[in-house]
């Protein structure tokens, strides 16, 4: 490298590119032989918030991310980052930081040298390498061979690599995998602060519970299609399957009373009735008015997990069937 090459400081590029902090996927289809991995997937990721990319294993999350990064070419549709195809980006790591696979390391190369070649490929200074190492808390281990890192350390190294170019877009595939509880808390804080800085964050998971506390927006996918694309609030409201469980010795009478009052109820076990569409307070009033004895009335608010399971239930059934077919 000649002395004339200037190494840009990450801050310059960050400010430059921040206006383009979006990911847009439009009608992307991707087949691998007979298997359809993405079946007309469309969604967008906006700046200033954390978008959760969620779906069961095999839903196409990783494939979508590879398509966004220009690693896999779609058969149809487009994937743009900041309005451009990834492959046309100059110094791409200053536009998009990605953590696809924490194990993707040359085991005999040190963590610092892993980041160093990436930095050199973007004309990012070695000083920035030490900065991101410090940021993820790997300073002590940076000069050791990456092959000896624990999964948590490899995840941190992957995050350091994603943050190397201080990119306006950050994309991580299953970032919570294998991280200890302390690391999970750290990761959530990091993701929130990155979004607060105006970056577009896309993180995938197959578990809603991992994302619940950190994402603002969710894209639920299954079988290569987007099943839902909404904020957390919208998603919960859309489901709105709040139920009330009544524990009683006379379930049949309870059902009659509630139905007479215009509610829907069903006996779920010998001493349980599930009521839908009525507030718990109203249920108590109806039962009291009808002189139906009960020992307990509990309200069950639908959470994100339930919504997710409902959305992907059909998907799971399908998989079970196809598994059964294959076994035969």
């Amino acid at each position: 490298m000649s002395a004339g090459d200037t190494e840009l400081t990450p801050t310059e590029s960050y400010n430059d590119a921040m206006t383009d902090a979006t990911i847009e996927m439009t009608g992307v289809r991707k087949r691998y032989g007979e298997t359809v991995a993405l079946d007309g997937m469309s969604f967008s990721v906006q700046p200033g918030r954390v978008t959760g990319f969620i779906g069961p294993n095999g839903a196409g999350k990783s494939t979508a991310m590879r398509v966004i990064l220009g690693l896999d070419a779609p058969n149809e549709g487009t994937a743009l980052v900041g309005g451009q195809p990834y492959r046309s980006l100059h110094r791409p790591l200053t536009h998009v930081g990605a953590l696809l696979d924490a194990d993707a390391l040359q085991p005999s190369r040190s963590g610092r040298n892993h980041l160093l070649w990436m930095a050199q490929s973007q004309r990012i200074s070695a000083g920035r390498v030490d900065e991101v190492i410090d940021m993820v808390g790997l300073t002590g281990a940076a000069k050791r061979k990456a092959g000896g890192y624990s999964l948590g350390m490899r995840q941190r190294l992957g995050i350091a690599a994603a943050m190397l170019g201080d990119p306006p877009i950050v994309m991580m595939d299953e970032p919570f995998n294998g991280i200890d509880p302390e690391g999970i808390i750290w990761m959530r804080g990091l993701l929130r602060s990155l979004a607060a800085e105006g970056r577009a964050i896309l993180i995938s998971s197959h578990l809603m519970s991992e994302l619940e506390d950190v994402v603002d927006h969710v894209v639920v996918v299954g079988r290569g299609k987007v099943l839902a694309d909404a904020t957390i609030e919208e998603l919960v409201a859309r489901a709105s399957h709040d139920t009330v469980t009544v524990r009683t010795d006379t379930p049949a009478e309870a059902v009659t009373a509630i139905q007479a009052a215009g509610g829907t109820a069903a006996i779920t076990s010998t001493d349980c009735v599930e009521v839908a569409g009525l507030q718990p307070r109203l249920v108590v009033e109806i039962l009291s008015a009808g002189r139906v004895s009960f020992s307990e009335v509990t309200s069950q608010r639908a959470n994100l997990e339930d919504v997710y399971l409902q959305l992907t239930a059909g998907e799971a059934e399908f998989q079970a069937h196809s598994d059964a077919r294959r076994r035969r």
Partner: protein, 517 residues
């Protein structure tokens, strides 16, 4: 684009170089390649001894390290100069004329490995058996000369200073088809003539370049070289010629003819017994054995390769480099690190070419270091062990160093391409060895034209760059790979492995662009 700086190939190259130098195992591999290559050359040179034994029977035989004398010609070149000479001294201008009435020969029935002092022979005249008139500066081997001669199979020739050759009247000499030969010295000029009837003379050619002194030896000579027609080890031969009507013009300072066996004694050129000369009436009957020609002595005493670097050393170093070149790409596929690479550097062709440049430079440098040590050390050991080596200049040494370095570097690049195509190191290593190592061994083992074609068409062709053994059309010798002669020109030969590397790299680049990472 927004960026003030253009995206450069330099940063991709720099990143790929960092990748290579930050894996300690690969650096160790490079050192191992250089050390192994050097050590094998040195060990092979150290184990190669040459000696001469003197004595009439096993009981009193004395042996010592060394090799027979190899004459140096007027330009310092290696020459064969062993022949039977009948001569007189001549001052200034003059001429010699003689009629040769017969030329016959004997070929030893034992090859040179088993030759005894009194070998059995059978009649036979080899193509470059020579008998004629000669003017030479002295009877010391390697002296400048000019001669007109009848040959066993190449008609009459005018030859001077070992490597110059002009054809005269064709056809073989027999009692019914005699030749008159005439050589005239006028000032610096030597002019050759021949005739089939003594009345009409044909000027074959002339030269002023031999730089003979005022006093020269002028006379008749006969010699007959080793033939390789009967065995690959070679069989010695002798020729018997009859001359009459011999006249010498000019001021001769010796009254009688003298007889000298030029190059007799401790001379490398194998002979069939000893020569002889008799004067019966007006007829000279001369028996000669040896050759006056450029020194093509690969099969006689010289070591191969002349460079002192062993081919096995190059191959072993190459195998290690093949493994590193394969790993340089395949390890990224194995660890899925290739995705990180293409995320950072989406222009996949650039990544491939940067990797190719890095591996070319690193493999080339490794082999260059190995060769630069092996050649002088190997030569020193071979010479101090009594072996004869062709003298090679700094230019030849440089060609061997750079040539072998480029050959090894091209092989590494091809393996890199192969590893990219296959995405697996095992296949790439196997393919690399099959393509770049096996043909070298196979081509040197398979005799005949198959071996030659292997050294033309496979990457083994590149070894022709190491060809430094002299050859000459004036010497019938099996110029085969086994004897250290390669079928292609030195630098041109590198085009062949270059094509293989370009093909592998081109296919890899095409696949990289099409394939999902």
């Amino acid at each position: 684009m927004r960026e003030g700086n253009e995206d450069g190939f330099a940063q991709v190259l720099r990143a790929e170089w960092t990748k290579l130098r930050t894996v300690r195992g690969w650096l160790i591999g490079l050192v191992v390649a250089a050390v192994l290559g050097t050590l094998l050359s040195i060990v092979s040179a150290n184990g190669s001894h040459s000696g001469i034994c003197v004595g009439s029977n096993p009981a009193n035989t004395r042996c010592f390290a060394g090799h027979p004398a190899v004459p140096a010609g007027p330009g310092g070149q290696v020459v064969a100069d062993t022949y039977e000479l009948i001569h007189r001294s001549l001052d200034g201008n003059g001429a010699i004329t003689a009629r040769i009435t017969s030329l016959a020969g004997i070929i030893s029935e034992q090859n040179m490995n088993r030759a005894s002092l009194t070998p059995q022979g059978r009649p036979g005249l080899v193509g470059w058996a020579k008998a004629g008139v000669i003017v030479t500066s002295s009877t010391k081997p390697g002296a400048p000369y000019a001669a007109v001669m009848a040959t066993g199979g190449h008609g009459v020739r005018f030859q001077y200073d070992y490597s110059h050759d002009i054809a005269g009247t064709p056809g073989a000499v027999s009692p019914g088809n005699q030749r008159w030969l005439r050589l005239v010295r006028q000032g610096d000029a030597l002019t050759a003539y021949d005739s089939t009837n003594v009345s009409s003379w044909h000027e074959i050619g002339s030269t002023t370049s031999t730089g003979l002194p005022n006093t020269v030896e002028i006379g008749l000579f006969v010699t007959s070289p080793v033939t390789y027609a009967l065995s690959s080890q070679g069989n010695t031969t002798e020729a018997i010629a009859r001359f009459d009507q011999v006249t010498v013009e000019g001021r001769t300072t010796t009254a009688v003819w003298q007889h000298t066996s030029v190059g007799g004694g401790n001379n490398f050129y194998p002979t069939l017994g000893f020569g002889s000369a008799r004067l019966i009436g007006g007829t000279f009957v001369i028996t000669g054995t040896g050759d006056i020609a450029p020194g093509v002595l690969a099969g006689m005493i010289a070591q191969n390769p002349a460079t002192g670097q062993s081919i096995i050393g190059i191959l072993v170093g190459l195998i290690v480099l093949i493994v590193i070149a394969a790993m340089f790409v395949a390890a990224e596929y194995r660890r899925r690190l290739i995705r990180t690479t293409f995320t950072a550097m989406p222009n996949r062709g650039r990544v491939l070419y940067a990797k190719a440049i890095v591996i070319f430079a690193v493999a080339g440098l490794t082999e260059a270091v190995a060769a630069a040590i092996s050649i002088p050390v190997g030569r020193h050991l071979l010479i101090s062990n009594g072996n004869y080596l062709f003298p090679i200049g700094a230019l030849t040494t440089a060609r061997d160093v750079f040539g072998s370095a480029i050959l090894v570097a091209l092989s590494a690049v091809a393996v890199l391409g192969l590893a990219t195509i296959l995405r697996r190191s095992s296949g790439a290593v196997a393919g690399g060895i099959a393509l770049f190592v096996v043909p070298v061994i196979l081509g040197a083992t398979v005799t005949g034209s198959v071996g030659e074609w292997i050294y033309r068409l496979t990457p083994a062709a590149g070894l022709s760059v190491l060809d430094s053994a002299p050859s000459s059309p004036l010497v019938s010798y099996p110029y085969t790979i086994q004897n250290g002669y390669y079928p292609l020109g030195a630098w041109v030969s590198l085009i062949v492995p270059c094509c293989y590397a370009a093909l592998a790299l081109g296919a890899a680049a095409m696949l990289l662009r099409r394939r999902d990472a």
